[in-house]
């Protein structure tokens, strides 16, 4: 029996991994086709019409080859894919650097930002959502619901701009942009400076992230408070904090964590916007630059890396239930 469940679980994970590979493959084709289909001429966008006018035909041909203009798209894709599978992501056309290097630095910056925001918004969202759900209809619930409505109606980039105006321009608590001060070598940047440039973007991202998780937790919490086991617990005299701790929190935690894993896509989307506002040198900013500058290898790599995170998050969310929920873990339900 036990072996069978373990076997099932391994089969389940293998199926998931295959699906993941297939999705990544389709995603890479999608982004390749979309970039190829673009009528925007990378030469005009990056070199400029006037500069092109002064060049010889050979120079232009060289540039065209560099920016991947012309040529057989199928061959190009296959060449790219073959390199990518071997771990070679190609060269970034904008940064004149190996894409893997660009991504490594950018991803590190972005991860610090996103993980902080992910944790902060997760914990705060869970707390607010649970508080709202337990106190449904009271002022605290109305307040939290109102906050969530406003925040989910607020574009992340505008919130970032407001923070910039208030803390950067008016109060001058934090610097206005860039994760490192301009004109200072990266090695000389002190930890405090790094933190200073990191706080506002992280704050903006965390504030926007709270709404989704809080609303979801609230819904689940309401479901739980209306459940038969909650009714019985109240009939047994449990109330207030103890009722919440013994039964509410216990049951709401798993759905909340699962949602937080499944919402990596949103945090990523938010980070693209927030990084843009704060000129924070992360993955999102690289994606925008690559998109505007037709830097195909870089944009493809960013897309795949971010898709990997999103799919990975969804997968963790799927698997998590099986590991944490005793009903599934012990094979009682759904086998």
């Amino acid at each position: 029996m036990k072996n069978k469940t373990t076997g099932n679980r391994i089969a389940f994970i293998i199926r998931k991994l295959l699906r993941l590979a297939l999705l990544l493959f389709v995603t890479s084709i999608t982004s390749f086709v979309l970039m190829k289909a673009s009528p925007i001429d990378p030469l005009q966008a990056n070199v400029g019409q006037s500069a092109l006018g002064t060049m010889s035909i050979e120079q232009i041909a060289r540039l065209q080859a560099y920016w991947g203009v012309g040529g057989n798209p199928v061959k190009q894709y296959l060449g790219w894919a073959a390199d990518f599978v071997r771990g070679d992501m190609g060269m970034s056309l904008l940064y004149h650097q190996a894409v893997s290097e660009v991504i490594a630095v950018r991803l590190q910056n972005s991860l610090v930002l996103m993980v902080t925001a992910w944790l902060l918004s997760g914990v705060l969202g869970l707390a607010l959502g649970a508080a709202a759900g337990m106190n449904r209809g009271r002022w605290i619930d109305r307040g939290i619901k109102g906050y969530c409505l406003v925040i989910s109606s607020t574009p992340a980039y505008w919130l970032a701009m407001l923070l910039l105006i208030v803390f950067g321009v008016w109060l001058k608590t934090f610097p206005v942009g860039l994760s490192v001060p301009i004109g200072v070598a990266a090695a000389d940047v002190t930890f405090t400076e790094r933190v200073q440039h990191f706080v506002l973007p992280a704050l903006a991202l965390s504030i926007t992230g709270i709404a989704g998780i809080a609303l979801h937790t609230r819904e689940k919490m309401i479901e739980i408070t209306e459940s038969e086991y909650m009714l019985f617990a109240r009939a047994r005299g449990e109330k207030g904090w103890r009722l919440f701790w013994n039964h509410g929190f216990r049951n709401v935690l798993l759905p909340a964590i699962t949602l937080q894993f499944a919402s990596i896509s949103e945090i990523f989307g938010g980070s693209v916007l927030v990084e843009q506002v704060f000129s924070y040198p992360g993955l999102g900013q690289a994606a925008v630059a690559a998109g505007l500058g037709s830097d195909m290898p870089l944009l493809m790599a960013v897309t795949i890396v971010s898709a990997l995170f999103v799919f990975g998050g969804n997968m963790i969310a799927d698997v998590l239930y099986g590991i944490v929920d005793p009903r599934i873990r012990k094979g009682g339900v759904g086998q």
């Binding site: 699906r19 999705l23 389709v26 995603t27 999608t30 982004s31 086709v33 979309l34 970039m35 289909a37 673009s38 009528p39 925007i40 409505l149 406003v150 989910s152 109606s153 607020t154 574009p155 992340a156 980039y157 505008w158 701009m161 407001l162 910039l164 105006i165 950067g168 321009v169 206005v176 896509s265 949103e266 990523f268 989307g269 693209v272 916007l273 843009q276 506002v277 999102g284 994606a287 925008v288 998109g291 505007l292 037709s294 944009l299 960013v302 897309t303 971010s306 898709a307 999103v310 799919f311 969804n314």
Partner: protein, 275 residues
């Protein structure tokens, strides 16, 4: 408890107010095309005052008119692309619930695929593929917003299919097409309608974001994303009103769309009436 009797009326009143407000913004924006574009250097960089409620920018343009104009552009664009997206969601949701296993897994694969790439990134890609501009952002929003509603429609269809009265009708030998048309669609419509309205705010937010990043509407059009992205340059010099008011108006518009969606839901589904 005390407002019990009025609750439904209040929902209706809120609904009507929101619709009227949004309609006024839209029409106002369409009417003030000239005003929004008019430059006047004698009045540049004015802070908000009674004459220029939202202040003026570095070219002396009236920010109030520009905001209205930008909002109407964003609202119309958002509504059109959300409607296309919702139609796609409806078709795919019905297909996936009614056409058997293969269709179902194909649709669910598509959903995973579209949801897997962060929205913003996919919007950027689609917009680039179509050469940015109006077409790019409209197609981008339309192509990325259907999955969640498609899931709702699919779940609803499957639930309907298992309901006793459909099962009985099926046993009576009614054809599938007839069943879907006569028995299922009428039940789906309210759900679909609410889902459609709730797509609007998402579409508007994403449109403005993509435009803000420089992939959407071109800078000649005073879309709200353009206004905000231009204002970035003037934040450091203290012209906060260039960002604050247009952004706040955008938030207000999105909130009102959410309100309309929620109020419609309350009116159309008896179950949620006690909220």
């Amino acid at each position: 408890m005390r407002e019990k009797n009025n609750r439904r009326q209040r929902v209706l009143a809120g609904l009507i107010f929101s619709v009227i407000f949004l309609a006024v913004v839209c029409i106002g924006g369409i009417l003030c095309k000239q005003e929004a574009a008019a430059t006047d250097f004698s009045r540049k960089n004015l802070a908000p005052c009674t004459e220029y409620l939202f202040g003026t920018d570095w070219l002396g343009r009236d920010m109030f008119a520009r905001t209205l104009r930008g909002l109407s552009v964003s609202i119309l664009l958002g509504m059109v692309s959300a409607a296309v997206s919702a139609a796609a969601a409806f078709v795919l949701g019905v297909i996936s619930a009614a056409m058997g296993r293969t269709a179902d897994s194909a649709v669910s694969f598509c959903i995973d695929w579209v949801m897997g790439i962060p929205h913003i990134l996919l919007l950027i890609l689609i917009s680039v593929a179509l050469g940015k501009g109006f077409r790019g952002v409209a197609a981008g929003v339309a192509l990325t917003h259907w999955p969640s509603l498609a899931r709702v429609i699919r779940a609803e269809m499957i639930q309907l299919k298992e309901s006793p009265y459909i099962q009985i009708a099926e046993k009576l030998g009614k054809r599938k097409g007839y069943l879907i048309r006569k028995h299922m669609l009428p039940h789906l419509m309210p759900q679909f309608f609410v889902g459609l309205v709730l797509l609007f705010p998402h579409a508007i937010l994403h449109e403005s974001s993509v435009t803000f990043l420089g992939f959407g509407l071109s800078s000649e059009q005073p879309a709200i994303g353009i206004i905000l992205s231009e204002s970035m340059r003037y934040l450091v010099t203290g012209q906060w009103w260039l960002a604050a008011f247009p952004g706040a108006m955008l938030v207000l518009v999105v909130i009102l769309f959410y309100e309309i969606g929620e109020n419609l839901r309350k009116l159309l589904s008896p179950g949620s009436a006690h909220e």
